[in-house]
């Protein structure tokens, strides 16, 4: 779908009341993985708001990315319980397999690697999200398997 179609689909689905701004931005992110300048301008026009204000809202939320992201956004929990359960080894395995560091996206735009704050799986850490899907009880081996699944499937 083209960007302007995505924005108009979102607007049709949710409307342009101010309280629908987050759902619309969330929808664009679900399709595009991030909010480009064009996407923000398109949403601003639809809502009859300044682009700066839309950007201000988007940039407040860590899941409304304003930088290019891959098809699969990996977010590894870095908060205490997951950290104690071995999060560093998970990060190393991810970085080594994907050949990128935290904050980066692979050259084929397939994976983005990020750290995130507590995601609510503290008793089953280390944990990570791949888009909306949760993986818990991770080991370096398990992480490589999971990545290979995504690499093969996509």
């Amino acid at each position: 779908m083209m960007l302007n179609e995505i924005v108009s689909t979102a607007v049709k689905k949710f409307g342009v009341g101010r309280e629908q701004l987050l759902p619309v931005l969330q929808y664009v992110v679900s399709q595009e993985k991030w909010l480009s300048e064009d996407a923000l301008l398109g949403v601003a026009r639809a809502f009859d708001m300044s682009a700066a204000e839309v950007y201000g809202v988007a940039s407040f939320y860590s899941f409304l990315d304003t930088k290019p992201r891959g098809d699969y956004v990996i977010r590894v929990c870095r908060t205490v319980s997951c950290d104690m359960a071995g999060k560093e080894a998970i990060m190393e395995a991810l970085e080594k397999t994907l050949h990128i560091s935290v904050g980066e996206t692979t050259a084929d735009r397939k994976f983005t690697l990020l750290e995130t704050n507590c995601m609510g799986w503290c008793a089953e850490g280390p944990a990570m999200l791949v888009n909306d899907y949760v993986y818990t009880g991770l080991t370096p081996e398990k992480v490589v398997d999971i990545l290979q699944g995504y690499m093969a499937g996509a």
Partner: protein
């Protein structure tokens, strides 16, 4: 205690409460509740002594009463499912397994305060629950219509911002704005979502409210202590022999708790997540888990002697520095300076006495910050730097 004795004792405690995960007929409960006077319902919640289970502990019945008495065109009930406090994960399971009970709690509240619209604000990290919750909301909206209750419930999704768990920041976010906390007063019961009277309760609070109406306030009051009535769902993580989600009576002392959940080497327990206090081993026996002692939204993180409390504190400060909304200076600058400060003490760039200045700063933040995020940082900071000072510099 050997592990069998521990398991037996734990089962005994869980059986004493057993409210949140006990199956009940929610439709029958709703039918019964909407036939009762709103005043009677509110009085039952007040009589039960139920206080907010998100961490702040405001009496739920008084909140409902305030919203009922407030003048407004339209009233709202909001379920705060923005469970972001590090170490807390019980609302995820309650929402997943007891969706009907939570929605029934919202509907009973709506009937009591005369609210017509309800929202569940679900944190973005729990988006995997979204389709299930939306479907449940649709089912219940049909039930409400059938039973003649004018109330409609839906789900709103967050997008990864810890501060949105603060009630007024949550309203801002629901209104499509940056999640920046508002000044209080006015409180949400007067001017909440869309500046209309709003009851906002934690997931667990709403589930307990439903159970109080189901069983009556007396049985709820019989659990716990005078200041901390009822049960509480705990999220247990870290160096624990048993981890996970447990519903227990409030008012246990920390020693009893560690005996059940520790690994025989527990040196500290962080009660209430990163914004709670750190209790060292020597204080376990004198510390009550409850509003009269250390209150908690349910997060209990255990640390054994292999852990560096410097790293724990540093991890919390990194968390706060990133999650501060940046709106008010004490919190925005304070979080950064506390983190830089302990790093400087650690590296030897600053003397150990510099910690005193940092503790003063945390104290200033506790009175000058606009919301609970900046105000509560003093809890972990001053407890860890007090009890584990030597670990900060070595």
């Amino acid at each position: 205690m050997n592990s069998d004795e521990k398991a037996k004792r734990l089962r005994g405690l869980q059986e004493k409460v057993n409210l949140i995960f006990r199956e009940i007929d929610c439709i029958e409960l709703l039918e019964r509740a909407i036939k009762e006077d709103p005043e009677t319902i509110i009085q039952k919640i007040i009589d039960s002594g139920l206080r907010g289970r998100g961490g702040a502990g405001f009496p739920a019945g008084l909140k409902w009463k305030g919203a009922k008495e407030a003048a407004g065109g339209i009233k709202y009930v909001v379920c705060n499912a923005d469970e972001g406090e590090p170490g807390t994960f019980k609302d995820r399971r309650i929402l997943d397994e007891q969706t009907d009970k939570v929605i029934t709690g919202m509907a009973i509240c709506a009937h009591a305060v005369n609210a017509t619209e309800g929202s569940i604000y679900l944190r973005g990290e729990y988006n995997f629950l979204l389709s299930k919750l939306s479907a449940k909301c649709n089912t219940w909206n049909t039930i409400f219509k059938d039973k003649g209750l004018v109330f409609k419930v839906g789900v709103k999704s967050g997008s990864g911002a810890y501060v949105c768990g603060e009630e007024t920041a949550l309203f801002e976010s629901m209104e499509g704005k940056r999640g920046e906390p508002r000044n209080k007063p006015p409180f949400p019961v007067i001017a909440g979502y869309m500046d209309e009277p709003t009851v906002i309760n934690n997931v667990e609070t709403l589930a307990y409210a439903a159970m109080i109406i189901a069983d009556g306030p007396e049985s709820f009051k019989a659990i716990g202590t005078k200041d901390s009535m009822g049960g509480k769902v705990f999220s247990i993580s870290g160096d624990a022999s048993v981890k996970g989600i447990f519903e227990l009576p409030l008012g246990m002392n920390l020693q009893e708790f560690v005996d059940l959940f520790g690994d025989d080497d527990t040196k500290a327990v962080q009660v209430g997540g990163s914004s709670g206090v750190c209790v060292p081993r020597k204080n376990f026996a004198d510390t009550i888990i409850g509003f009269e002692g250390v209150p908690t939204g349910g997060s209990m993180m255990l640390f054994n002697s292999t852990r560096s409390m410097y790293h724990v504190l540093e991890n919390y400060l990194e968390f706060f520095e990133e999650e501060s909304c940046g709106q008010c200076t004490p919190c925005r600058a304070g979080c950064q300076q506390l983190l830089k400060g302990i790093e400087a003490v650690r590296s030897g760039e600053k003397p150990l006495s510099y910690i005193e200045k940092l503790r003063d700063l945390a104290q200033v933040m506790s009175v000058a910050s606009k919301c609970g995020l900046g105000q509560s940082l003093v809890n972990p900071f001053n407890s860890i730097t007090r009890y584990f000072r030597e670990e900060i510099c070595y």
